[in-house]
Symmetry: C2
Subunit: 237 residues, 2 copies
DNA sequence: GAGGATGATTGATGTGTGTCAATGCCTCTG
DNA sequence: CAGAGGCATTGACACACATCAATCATCCTC
């Protein structure tokens, strides 16, 4: 069950929280939320536990403190699309309308800070800086969304897999030599990339045989960053 | 060439503009922009003309007044993904960061109102109502984006085509009996749905043979709304 | 009204990825 | 340490959609 406790603005001292801002959250750092700290509640979720349900009234939004969370859209016949993987520092749920149009589930055991959406709205009315941050945040999410549409609509399976590895390497900040620790299962990756689990496996194996990466379960080393960029159709810069 | 002229806040009287708010823009009506009218410029674009270029500095944002505009992301080898089709009342470009990460092109001859992004930002700082509208606008765009990820990642060709027809029927407000007038080519539809033009054609023909729709070039009648909903995996309500 | 350009449609064929199924590897439990 | 369960990997095969190619419809031009 989802466990929560009031944090009384002292959440910065709670275990697992200190690294949140330092981690450089992919979707933007919600520093301005410090003003809302008094309304924040720390929530813990076990692995595979649902944090918000698709269609649920959107009362709260969340910041991931530790662990990994996925957003999921489900079709009635069970087909699944993972919208995004959220890592420490990432925020979600504030961009809802009346209700959440996706569910959020813990990929690993996770800690989150939960804020009332209404409080955020009211604060944004008074704090231009926060409002701007929220706009920048949604701009980044929209940009990421367009990138993913290109991936889902036009890239081949191997291109998707290479792009995914590059994205995760960037987000987890895994440098030369240090591996990417993938918190999610192959099934999650497949549902994120619009592929099947078998195709993801084969794609990874293929990259390994080429010498581009090394695989050890959930740990992946990038051996040839350049080749991976080419395989993922990385734009020139 | 892109033609523009200062509107001095009287643009509401310009031909083609009157219908903009009445049309119920899909992405939300930017009524609050009336406050920015003095900074607005009317821009005209010929069919197939580029309005903003991918990678261009994001100085302006736009509201479509008449015609149809598409946003496009291009890969180096020519693969193309259409992000969205913009109809009268729809706004785009305000959710950029430093530069636009997509290009916008006129599908048909189009008229747009162009606003300086900086002016919009400044106004949003003072006007909570506008800021809220912008947040709601991006929430809707993000929601639409998640819906499209599901479509691109998990739906079959025929499901995508049925979903597309339903979306266009909704947005153009074509009721029973009156046809959908599709402003875009089959190629555009294909690039929007992550398919090839041939697959789009075949899918449409198939729906016609089933008696679900009737086709006459760019005009499409929905004969069996229910069957189309099933074909497009429309969620129950 | 002939000729050409452009876009839509249809057909034949190929292939990338999905589906089905077997096996392997690791972890947990008693 | 045996057995079970969960996930990852690999193989064989099928099929949905892409590709290649031909034809058709419409519009434009001279």
């Amino acid at each position: 069950m989802l466990c929560s406790m009031a944090s009384n603005g002292q959440s910065a001292k709670l275990p697992g929280f200190r690294g949140a801002d330092a981690s450089g959250g992919w979707m933007g750092k919600p520093r301005a939320l410090e003003l809302l700290a008094s309304q924040a509640v720390i929530v813990r979720a076990d692995r595979e536990e649902e944090i918000v349900g698709q269609g649920e009234a959107a009362e709260y939004c969340y910041v991931v403190v530790s662990g990994c969370v996925r957003t999921v859209r489900l079709m009635e016949d069970g087909r699944r699309q993972v919208g995004e993987f959220l890592l420490p520092g990432d925020m979600f749920g504030w961009e809802a309308l009346e209700e959440h149009d996706f569910s959020a589930e813990a990929v690993t055991a996770a800690t989150l800070r939960r804020y009332p959406r209404r409080g955020l709205e009211l604060l944004a009315d008074r704090d231009h800086e926060l409002a701007r941050r929220l706009r920048a945040l949604s701009a980044r999410k929209l940009r990421a969304g367009r990138e993913r549409m290109l991936l889902l609509g036009r890239k081949s399976a191997s291109e998707r897999i290479a792009s995914f590895l590059l994205e995760m390497a960037e987000r987890t900040g895994s440098g030369e030599g240090s591996p990417i620790e993938l918190p999610m299962s192959r099934t999650d990756i497949a549902d994120y990339l619009g592929l099947t689990i078998e195709t993801v496996c084969r794609g990874l194996t293929h990259l390994q045989r080429q010498g581009t990466i090394s695989i050890e379960r959930a740990r992946i080393w990038i051996r040839d960053r350049r080749a991976l960029g080419v395989a993922g159709c990385e734009a020139l810069h």
